[in-house]
């Protein structure tokens, strides 16, 4: 292959919260500063910056990515901003990889930031504009509808029940109790989920991740730099991404083809033949409970129709054979859209280095996967990382 080996060598994160007083730039600064400190590097050693932040509609002003340049340490450096909805955070990591793997830069600071709270009192209305302006917006859809509609189809296809799917919320919110940045860590029961407010049946309130503010940053380095910086580089061994058609009503929503395409590209690059055996730990995107299961199937980490059985068997618990969302995921840690995706990449970094503290999964995992999803049930972004 014509690209260079790339490692993650440092990481930083802010707490996730519903309303942060700090501005977008200040949030970015906190995460970026921590990431550089963690690997004892300074800004002069950073060649370029990859920024991920979701729609400007949350912020109410355009060029949000550009205004993040200072907080992200990107002033007068090559900066690139990307946005693919919820897939943005992992796409930012893929961009960081591209910058370094290409040979053009030796280091890249990757930052994903979101401040959803500026859309006040609630950012939900901003999502109306993701739907087709002529054929869909006139029926006044909300983001909750599209998830509830997809969940219904997923349950119908496989005979899954709400009771079983609710166990994802129980697991992830419990895992998040051990995450110092978590917004919604909690000890809850299946009944708590089922009895929580109905948002759009089959989705109840506790099936949904919160709206959040927060930022995450990673430092990427080419191999010769990485080996000087740390004894524990975490290699970006596979990346993949794919975008499906925006005609979301003409696809069968029960299965995310785009996640499969993205995952297979990442597996091929990483030389992974049997993902369910070779991947020790996974952080699939979980903005809704069923999404974790839906994505596990798309990622080939669970058989189609077999993800709920894995959940029921405890396979996806932190001490199971394939720990899934040991961070606490979006359901527990929170969902500042772009930052949530990069939080997953950061979690794999800490887990593979054995630095995840109380969240550490047993068994010295050496291969992990992070995935995000976004747009109109449309984009899959996947990274495979190894020690």
């Amino acid at each position: 292959m014509g690209y260079r080996r790339v490692a993650v060598v440092g990481a930083g994160i802010t707490k996730f919260t519903r309303f942060a007083k700090e501005t977008n730039g200040e949030l970015s600064y906190e995460a970026a500063r921590m990431a550089l400190d963690s690997c004892e590097m300074n800004l002069s050693q950073i060649d370029c910056v990859s920024i991920g932040t979701a729609p400007d509609a949350f912020d109410g002003f355009h060029l949000n990515g550009e205004t993040l340049a200072e907080g992200s340490g990107g002033f007068n450096k090559p900066v690139m901003r990307n946005y693919v909805g919820g897939g943005t955070g992992v796409m930012s990591a893929i961009h960081g990889w591209q910058h370094v793997a290409s040979g053009m830069f030796d280091t890249c600071l990757v930052i994903a930031e979101e401040k959803m709270s500026s859309a006040f009192p609630h950012p939900a209305g901003a999502f109306l504009t993701i739907f087709d302006h002529t054929t869909e917006q006139p029926v006044m859809p909300t983001l909750l509808w599209i998830f509830a509609i997809e969940m219904q189809r997923f349950m119908h296809a496989h005979g899954y029940t709400k009771e079983d799917i609710a166990k994802v919320a129980v697991k992830n919110k419990r895992n998040a109790l051990d995450h110092p940045c978590a917004q919604l860590g909690a000890e809850i029961t299946v009944d708590d989920v089922l009895n929580s407010e109905i948002m759009a049946h089959p989705v109840n309130r506790l099936d949904v991740s919160p709206t959040s503010d927060g930022a995450v940053a990673l430092v990427f380095a080419a191999e010769h730099v990485a080996r000087r910086v740390t004894e524990k580089p975490v290699w970006m061994d596979g990346v993949g991404w794919a975008l499906d058609t925006a005609y979301w009503c003409t696809r069968d929503l029960y299965y995310p083809d785009y996640v499969e395409v993205a995952a297979k590209k990442a597996y091929e690059m990483a030389g992974i033949k049997e993902p369910a055996k070779e991947i020790h730990i996974a952080e699939p995107y979980d903005p809704f409970t069923y999404k974790e299961l839906h994505h596990l199937e798309g990622l080939q980490l669970a058989p189609r129709g077999g993800s709920v059985q894995m959940l029921l068997d405890g396979v996806t618990q932190r001490d199971g054979n394939l720990p899934v969302c040991p961070s606490g995921g979006l359901l527990g840690v929170g969902n500042p859209i772009a930052a949530a995706g990069l939080m997953k990449v950061a979690e794999i970094f800490w887990q593979l280095r054995g630095e995840a503290g109380k969240r550490q999964v047993p068994g010295n995992p050496t291969c992990g996967l992070a995935q995000a999803w976004g747009d109109l049930m449309q984009v899959g972004t996947v990274v495979v990382m190894r020690t």
Partner: protein
């Protein structure tokens, strides 16, 4: 020197990264905010395919477009087939009946505002409806009504309920909603 080999995020480390506010802090003006309520206006030209689709809706008809290569009857109609990556072919009228592919029962509006369900407000019941005459799986997003939400099921047969001709304006909302066939 090898550095950066002990990185664990701790409560102490992240403590000062964020100042968490409450919604009340903003509404009670405990923090200074600048507010803006945009009122932007747009006029979307809908292109040849969707313009015809809208014009036919005004006539009380649903029109699709075929791709001869993959043999799909595509709804909404499009000028090119995104699978074959070639121009689409004939316009074809399809039925105003169909089948519920999937649906939900929403207790919230588009701004996540709560509907007064206890007070008797009917929940929204949006659905993906596969239209008869279009290729299998070709659905559109629309609303179901005139049916108890509890009775809605995947596979349910439905028919469009149109606005009276004089009220139609060339919009997807010229169909008021879909209702079960036989109701």
């Amino acid at each position: 020197m090898i550095r950066g080999d002990k990185m664990e995020i701790t409560k102490e480390l992240v403590e000062k990264t964020i100042t968490a506010l409450k919604s009340k802090d903003l509404t009670d003006k405990k923090v200074i905010t600048a507010a803006w309520q945009p009122n932007l206006a747009y006029a979307w030209d809908d292109g040849p395919a969707i313009s015809r689709y809208l014009a036919e809706l005004k006539n009380g008809k649903i029109i699709a477009k075929r791709c001869r290569k993959c043999d799909r009857t595509m709804l909404p109609p499009r000028m090119f087939c995104e699978l074959c990556w070639r121009p689409s072919n004939e316009w074809v009228y399809v039925q105003d009946t169909g089948r519920v592919n999937t649906f939900c029962v929403s207790h919230v509006d588009w701004k996540a505002g709560r509907l007064d369900i206890q007070g008797g407000v009917r929940p929204y019941t949006p659905a993906v409806i596969e239209i008869d005459g279009a290729s299998p799986g070709m659905g559109i997003l629309h609303l179901l009504d005139n049916v108890d939400p509890k009775d809605i099921h995947i596979g349910m047969r439905v028919k469009a309920v149109w606005k009276p001709a004089e009220q139609r304006e060339g919009s997807i909302t010229d169909i008021r909603y879909f209702e079960p066939i036989g109701s």
